[in-house]
C-alpha cells in the first residue's frame, strides 16, 4: 500500500496520544515535560505532512515555516519551564507533582 498523508497523520495521532498519556499518568515533573515535547513533536509531524501533500504547491512551504516557529517557541518554553522546575526544587526539594499542592512558596 502506497504511503500517503493518512499514514503520517495516524503516526502523529498515536504519538500525540502517547504524549497525553504521559502528561496524565506520570507524576514526575520532568517526565511530564518530556511528554509535552512529544505532543509538540507530533503536531510538527502533522504540519510537515500537510505541507508535503498540500494541493497548492507554491504555498506548500507555509506549514514548514510554522514548524520552524513551533520549534523555536518550544525551545524557549523548555528553557523557562526547566528554570521554573529548578527554582521550585530549590524551595521544596521535590520535582513530584503530588508534593506541590499549594500555590504559596
Amino acid at each position: 500500500m502506497h504511503v500517503g498523508l493518512q499514514h503520517y497523520l495516524v503516526v502523529s495521532a498515536i504519538l500525540f496520544a502517547t504524549g497525553l498519556l504521559g502528561v496524565i499518568m506520570r507524576r514526575n515533573l520532568l517526565v511530564m515535560y518530556m511528554s509535552l515535547e512529544l505532543m509538540l513533536n507530533s503536531a510538527n509531524l502533522a504540519l510537515v505532512s500537510f505541507s508535503r501533500f498540500s494541493p497548492d504547491a507554491p504555498n506548500g512551504l507555509d506549514g514548514q515555516v510554522l514548524v520552524f516557529f513551533i520549534i523555536t517557541v518550544a525551545a524557549a518554553e523548555v528553557s523557562v519551564g526547566l528554570a521554573l522546575i529548578v527554582a521550585l526544587f530549590r524551595k521544596r526539594q521535590s520535582a513530584h507533582v503530588e508534593d506541590l499542592t499549594s500555590m504559596k512558596l
Binding site: L5, A17, L21, V31, N44, A75, K91
Partner: protein, 171 residues
C-alpha cells in the same frame, strides 16, 4: 501489495515504528522509571522523527530537529536531571484510578483522531513540495519577516526570564 512498496515506503514503516516504540518507552518504560532513560528514549524518538521529516522532503527541518531538539533541548533536560537529585522518584506507585481514567480519556481522544483521519478523503495528488534550505530561507525573509523578528524577541524574553528565575533570592 508488498511488491509495490518502494524503498521510501519501507523506510516510512521503519521510522514510524521506531518513533512510536521509543515514544511509548519515554512515557511507560516497564524496566526503568528513571527520568534519564526517558530522556534518552526521547532523543531516539526525535532522531527517528527527523528521518520521517527527510522522507517528507523537509530536509532543513530534519536537520533543525536534530540540532535544536536532540542537541540543545535534550542537553538542557539531562543537565537539569543531573542538577536535581531525583533518586527517590521511582519508588512511588501509580494509582489505579488515575491509570483507568488516563487510559480511557487518551483512548477516547485517539479514537476521535483516527476516526476523523480515516473518514476524510485523501488529497487528489501529491505535488512535489521541496523543503530545502534555500526555499525555506527565502520564505522566512520575505513573507514571514515580521514573525521571524517577533520570535527572536520571544527568545530574548525567555532568556531574561530564565536569568531572573535562576537568581538566588527569588521574590
Amino acid at each position: 501489495m508488498i511488491n509495490h512498496m518502494g524503498l521510501p515506503d519501507i523506510l516510512f514503516y521503519v521510522f514510524a515504528a521506531l518513533t512510536l516504540f521509543c515514544g511509548l518507552l519515554v512515557v511507560a518504560n516497564p524496566f526503568s522509571r528513571s527520568p534519564v532513560t526517558s530522556a534518552m528514549f526521547l532523543v531516539l524518538t526525535i532522531i527517528s522523527m527527523s528521518g520521517l521529516f527527510v522522507l517528507l522532503h523537509a530536509f532543513f527541518l530534519g536537520i533543525v530537529q536534530i540540532i535544536v531538539y536532540a542537541g540543545a533541548v535534550m542537553v538542557l533536560f539531562v543537565f537539569v536531571i543531573m542538577l536535581l537529585d531525583l533518586k527517590e522518584e521511582d519508588r512511588r506507585r501509580i494509582k489505579s484510578f488515575g491509570l483507568v481514567a488516563g487510559l480511557l480519556s487518551v483512548g477516547a481522544i485517539l479514537a476521535i483522531f483516527l476516526n476523523s483521519i480515516i473518514s476524510a478523503a485523501p488529497p487528489a495528488s501529491a505535488p512535489a513540495v521541496e523543503g530545502d534550505t534555500h526555499a525555506l530561507g527565502l520564505l522566512l525573509y520575505t513573507k514571514y519577516t515580521l514573525p521571524f523578528e517577533v520570535i527572536s524577541v520571544l527568545l530574548l524574553v525567555a532568556m531574561i526570564g530564565v536569568i531572573t528565575l535562576s537568581k538566588k533570592d527569588l521574590k
